[in-house]
Subunit: 205 residues, 3 copies
């Protein structure tokens, strides 16, 4: 657990910042920012832990409350313009995605789930917080944005994490390497507007 909690807390922080930034753009107040940051940072992990039948880390370990508080205060103090909020939101979201697809998968594997289920749960953890953020702020989730690619990096990261964990190669170095791959892929997909084929080949309305 001790080796796992730091990247998990970092992931909570990154997602919390993305939530607080969206709160800023939507004109929420500081408390709304703290709550949206908490929901985004902790939501995916709470869903994961509820699914595997554990008391969620957010409710058993008070340490998990620190990153959202820090995120809300940082966003409050550092942003006095909302010009670049959109860009930073994507960057912090990508960083959270990169860490959570790994920590979510590893937690599921260490809990005894099979690799396929663990990858699925890792992806759920990674995309869950951002999905909640966008649903609660009443906009179509980034996850379903067809202008770029969001879920594929998380799926690849979760699969690599499962492979390296099962093979016994997962350590701080390889974990960091996987996170960098996921983060870079996501940012590149956003920047260059890589996209997947549409759900139906020709749609209208």
């Amino acid at each position: 657990m001790s080796i796992e909690i730091l990247p998990d807390l970092l992931g909570v922080f990154f997602f919390a910042v993305s939530g607080c930034l969206l709160a800023g753009r939507k004109g929420f107040d500081l408390i709304g920012s703290l709550l949206l940051g908490s929901l985004v940072g902790l939501g995916g992990g709470v869903a994961r832990d509820v699914i595997i039948g554990q008391t969620p880390a957010a409710f058993s370990n008070p340490l998990y409350l620190a990153p959202p508080v820090l995120a809300a205060l940082l966003v409050f103090w550092l942003y006095n313009s909302a010009e670049k909020i959109g860009r930073w939101l994507v960057v912090f979201d990508a960083a959270g995605l990169a860490l959570f697809c790994i920590t979510g998968t590893v937690k599921a594997l260490s809990f005894g789930l099979n690799p396929v289920a663990s990858v699925l749960l890792g992806v759920t953890t990674a995309v869950g917080g951002g999905l909640l953020r966008d649903v609660v702020a009443n906009q179509v989730p980034q996850l379903f944005n067809s202008h770029d690619i969001y879920a594929i990096p998380a799926i690849i990261g979760a699969a690599l994490a499962a492979l390296s964990y099962t093979g016994g190669w997962l350590n701080i170095g390889t974990g960091f390497g996987i996170a960098v791959v996921v983060f870079s892929f996501r940012i590149a997909a956003w920047h260059f507007r890589w996209h997947a084929p549409l759900a139906v080949r020709k749609q209208k309305n």
Copy 2:
């Protein structure tokens, strides 16, 4: 379980198709379609299993991942026009509703819940996936559409399933019969625009 898993998988498939069709109409890409299909097909059952305290079938049995994949591919290959998406969405949604109100109730009963709670959980399973679908796609849920009747067929189906299960009459034949009743009721309500009284007798925005 073996007798129960086939209708459950079929229900997952039907709901997944409804999710993929909505993804098509909203202009999501193929991955978004797969994810929305998975959320709709598996969401209700995951909620049900989390509530009764079991590891959700979607995460313990990889077979549950097949229907959403199949649904996304079918929708991708078969639809080259979105003209009739609305109609098919209602039909597949009704088919999922018809199966899940039965399988959800039976799973709750076989887990030892009392009949009232089991009916409630069956209805939750049946309407949960579609509710998630519409919330995530940022539209008012079909469940709350006052132009026709959505929940009543599911409540009737869950009650009939609980009655026949408790009475020992539930088998493939009676189960299929209940599903046909629910499906026909829902489709008729949609087609003929049967509706219930409004929540307040006279409303004004």
Copy 3:
């Protein structure tokens, strides 16, 4: 449990009324009103119980189904104009908030969670139902409304409940007192439009 169930049922009723009123304003039908009332009244408590790993009270005790039914019928019979729906929605929502921040915290404490986690879970219970209500009805949650203060009264109420429970002073009198404080604070914040600082000091767009 017996001392706890009455305020809990009352809280369910108050939140259910707020859901049925919103259903009325949105033009939902009577069944949609019952379902939205149930979701709002029972949703926060179901989330709480799932997080602490218990079968939710709503599914184990059929008594919990009475308040939403009563709420839907009352709203149906008593409102023949929607003029004042907005005002009453806020009042009933505040009453539910006042009771749930206490009962949620006490349930978590009596289940053995630490005080910080219990306060967090109490707040989750209190704001969860209303959050679901607004998300499902496709509007930005009252929780994130920056025109007044919503979460702070719940946080204060949960903290006071945790303090008095731990100190052994919690009884019907002090519990009622805390609820009155929370309710009055929330209503005053709404009426006088007290508000917190914004999430970012200067926002645009």
